[in-house]
Symmetry: C2
C-alpha cells in the first residue's frame, strides 16, 4: 500500500470507505476538508451512474457516458487514497479490511457503502440464464445479446418463431418500465431501418409485474400514464402475475402462462451486497444492515452503513428506498458524524429529505413526482428528467457526451451505441451453443 500524500499528519484517523457508488463518493467528498485520511476501496476503477444504465442496455448510450473514473474524479482530494480491489471480509475486532489477495487495510472508522446486487428471489433458472441490470457489465450483456439475436434472426429467420427476438422484462418498477420503454423504441428502429426485410409481426416485448400496477410507489396518475404509454409503444404489460421459473425460450408464469422468450431481463429487485454479511452485523429483509439512527451499525460504533446496503429508516419508521438520493444524503451524513465524533461531539440522527422520484418511458414521455404533491407527466416531465439527469451525471465531459448522444438520437431516431464487441460475441456464442441452440 502506498503512503498517503506527504504533509498529512500521521495521527489523523483513517476512514475506510468500501464502495465508490453514490454513497461512498458522497461520503468521501464530504470528508475532503476534515482532519482525516480517507481510503476509498472499490472493485472497479469507475463509478456507474445506474439511473442511465438502461440506456446502455438499449444501445442509446455508451459505457463511458455513464461511468466515470474514480481517480479522475478524486485526484484533487489530497487526503484521499483510492485502492482498486475486492473486499473479502471485515475484521471489526482488529479494525481491518481484508482484500482479495490477503493484504489488509486498517481503519479507525469504516463506512460500508457496498451497494446491492440483483435478487433472483430464488426463482429457478434466473441465476443461470436471466440477465440482471445493475452493473455496466450487465447492461453490455443485455445489449450484446439483443443485437446479436437480431443478427442471428437475419441469418435464420425461422428462429424468430421460437422466441429469438422476444424479450420478457421482470419487474414493473422504474428500471423495468424504463427498459421496456427504451427497448420498444430500439425494436422500432431495428424493424424500420436495419432489418426491414424481416417479418417481426410476431415478436413480443412483455413486462411482467407481480403487483396490480406499474411503478407502485408513484401516484396513481403517474402509474396510469406509465401503463398507457408502454401499451401504446406495443409492450405487452402483464400485471398481477409473476415469473416462477425460467429456461431459455420458456418463461413460466404463476398463472400457468408460458412465454417463449429467449431473453429475460431481470429487474425484479435487489438485495444488499454479500459484503453486508462479511462484517457480522445484524441484517434485515434483503440482507440490509441494521443501523442506528445516526447510521452507525448496531453494536459496532466505528462502523457505518449507507445507501443500498443499509436498512436506514425514515421519519415514520419506514425502511428508506434503495435509491441514489438516500445513498448521497446518507453518505454526507456519516461523513459529518465521523468528523463530529473525532471532535468529541455527540451523534445526530439521519433525516432523509425526499427530493421526489421519476421514471422515463421513452421519447417525450416521463413521470416526475416532486415534493409537496407536484406531479407532471408527458413532454415537460421528460424534459425535467433530461435536465436533472444531466446535472447529476459526474463530470463535464460525460454531460457533453450524453447531450450529444441524446440530441443525436432525438433528431435522427438513430441509436449510435450498437457495437457488438468480439469478446462479448464470443462469450455469448459459447453460451448459446451450450444452452440455447
Amino acid at each position: 500500500m502506498t503512503e498517503p500524500s506527504t504533509g498529512q499528519p500521521d495521527r489523523w484517523p483513517v476512514v475506510v470507505i468500501v464502495g465508490a457508488g453514490f454513497g461512498g463518493l458522497s461520503a468521501a467528498g464530504a470528508l475532503a476538508r476534515g482532519a482525516v485520511r480517507v481510503c476509498l476501496i472499490d472493485q472497479r476503477n469507475f463509478q456507474t451512474f445506474q439511473p442511465l444504465l438502461y440506456q446502455v442496455a438499449t444501445a442509446g448510450l455508451d459505457p463511458n457516458d455513464v461511468c466515470s473514473s474514480v481517480r479522475g474524479m478524486m485526484f484533487r482530494q489530497a487526503n484521499l487514497e483510492f485502492v482498486m480491489g475486492r473486499v473479502d471480509r471485515v475484521d471489526t475486532r482488529s479494525r481491518q479490511v481484508v482484500l482479495d489477495g490477503g493484504s489488509t487495510i486498517e481503519f479507525d472508522y469504516l463506512v460500508i457503502a457496498a451497494g446491492a446486487v440483483s435478487n433472483d428471489f430464488g426463482v429457478e433458472g434466473v441465476e443461470g440464464y436471466a440477465l440482471p441490470l445493475y452493473t455496466l457489465d450487465d447492461a453490455l450483456k443485455i445489449r450484446t445479446r439483443i443485437l446479436l439475436n437480431w443478427e442471428r434472426a437475419n441469418r435464420s429467420p425461422h428462429l424468430i418463431g421460437q422466441g429469438l427476438l422476444d424479450v420478457v422484462i421482470a419487474g414493473g418498477g422504474p428500471t423495468g418500465v424504463e427498459v421496456a420503454g427504451a427497448l420498444a423504441e430500439l425494436y422500432g428502429l431495428l424493424r424500420r431501418r436495419d432489418y426491414r426485410n424481416l417479418d417481426t409481426s410476431e415478436v413480443h416485448l412483455t413486462l411482467v409485474e407481480g403487483g396490480d400496477d406499474l411503478l407502485a410507489p408513484f401516484h396513481r396518475a403517474s402509474r396510469r400514464a406509465a401503463l398507457a404509454t408502454l401499451r401504446e409503444k406495443g409492450v405487452d404489460v402483464v400485471l398481477s402475475d409473476m415469473i416462477t421459473g425460467y429456461e431459455p425460450g420458456r418463461v413460466q408464469l404463476r398463472s400457468g402462462r408460458v412465454l417463449a422468450a429467449r431473453t429475460l431481463v431481470w429487474a425484479a429487485g435487489v438485495k444488499a451486497s454479500p459484503l453486508a454479511a462479511a462484517c457480522g452485523a445484524e441484517q434485515t429483509r434483503g440482507g440490509r444492515i441494521v443501523v442506528n439512527d445516526d447510521l452507525s451499525v448496531a453494536g459496532l460504533p466505528e462502523v457505518f452503513a449507507i445507501g443500498d446496503v443499509a436498512a436506514a429508516v425514515g421519519a415514520s419508521g419506514e425502511l428508506l428506498p434503495q435509491v441514489a438520493q438516500v445513498a448521497i444524503q446518507s453518505g454526507k451524513h456519516v461523513a459529518h458524524q465521523i468528523l463530529r465524533r473525532s471532535s468529541g461531539l455527540p451523534a445526530e440522527p439521519f433525516r432523509y429529505r425526499d427530493r421526489g422520484s421519476m421514471a422515463t418511458i421513452g421519447r417525450n414521455q416521463a413521470v416526475v413526482e416532486l415534493p409537496f404533491g407536484l406531479r407532471i407527466s408527458g413532454r415537460l416531465a421528460w424534459l425535467t428528467w433530461l435536465v436533472l439527469h444531466l446535472l447529476y451525471l459526474a463530470g463535464v465531459r460525460n454531460r457533453f457526451h450524453v447531450l450529444v448522444n441524446w440530441s443525436w438520437s432525438y433528431l435522427t431516431y438513430d441509436r449510435g451505441a450498437r457495437l457488438i464487441q468480439d469478446r462479448d460475441r464470443d462469450q455469448l456464442e459459447r453460451r448459446l451453443t451450450k444452452h440455447d441452440l
Copy 2:
C-alpha cells in the same frame, strides 16, 4: 438469408463483398446506384477506424468514437444487404461463399476485402503473450492491461522493479510511433495525478525498431522529428535491433539485450487475412493475393481483391502500402470495374494516387507529408492531422464525440476513457494468475 428489398430486379448480378473495412465499404458505397445487388459480409457489425485505434489503446478515445455500426451507415442503400458472419471458405467453382455454421451465399462477383491480421514473424512468445494492435478488441486489451497494471503497482509497489509498468513497443512504423507517443503522455498523466505517491523513476517505455530509423517511408526530416519528439517525451528508442523472443517480463533482443517489461505491444507489421488462402488464389509476400492490374484475381476473373489483403502494384511496379487510402481507392475502382463488365465494357487498370501520409506523436506534434513534396511537422502538422482524421471518420455523431474528447484532453490534460470493465479485468486476471505471477 433474407431477400433483398422489394422492387429489385431479381436478375441483377449479386456482388458479395467480404469485409466491411475501408475497402469493402468504399466498394459497397460505389455500387449504390448500380444495377447490382450487394451483399456485404463482416464478422463484426461495425467498421473500425484503425488510424485512431492507438488512442483507444492509450485511454484517449472510447470504442464508440472510432467504430461505426455498418447497418447504421448503410441502411439508406436499398440494393445492399448486410450479413454479420465469418466466412469459412470461398468456393470459386460454384461461386459460393460458405459462412460459419455452413450457410452459403452465391455470388456473380466477389470482392475480397478481408484486411490483414497482426504478423508475429514467427518470433517466439509473441503469439501467446504480446498484445497486437489491429482490432478494437486489441486496443481494449492493451488499455485494460496497462490500467490494471498501474492499479496492481499501487497495491504492490515492489512489482514496479520487476517491469510491471514497463512497456516495450515493437515496430517503428506509424502505429508504433503513435502508440509510443500517446503512451508516454498517458504515463505522464498517471504519474502526475493518479499515482503521485508511487515511485516510477525506474519505469521505461521502449520502442524497438529493426531499421536504423523510425517511420521508414517518410522523408528524412520527418523521421528525425519523430525520433527527437519521442526521446523528448522520455521514450527509449532502440534502433537497428529487433525482438527475437518474448515471455512476460523478458523481452529478448537480437543484440543480446534483455528488457524486463511485462507488456509488449506488437506493432511490427501485418500479414493478409487467412481468408486470402481460402479462395485458392496465388499469394505473395505477407500472404497478399496476387491481382491483375484491374485488381481482379489472377485466374479468377469474377473475383477481385482490394486493400490490405491484395498485392496491388503501383505505377513503377512497387507493392502498394497497406493503408486506408489504397483500400478506399481500390474499393471504388473494383466497383466501377464490376459495373463496366456488367455493361460489356473492357477493364481499366487501377491507378493509385498517393494523397500523402502522416503520423502524430502526441500533443502538438505530428509529421505530415503531402503530394508534391510538401512536408510539415510540429503544431501545424498536428492540426492538419486532427482536421483530416475528423473529416475521414464515418458519421457526424462520431466526429462530435471525438471532437469533445480531444478538446477535453487538450484543455485539461485528462484522459476520460479509463474504464476497466469487469470482463476484461477478469479475463486478464485469470491470465495473469496463470502466466505472470
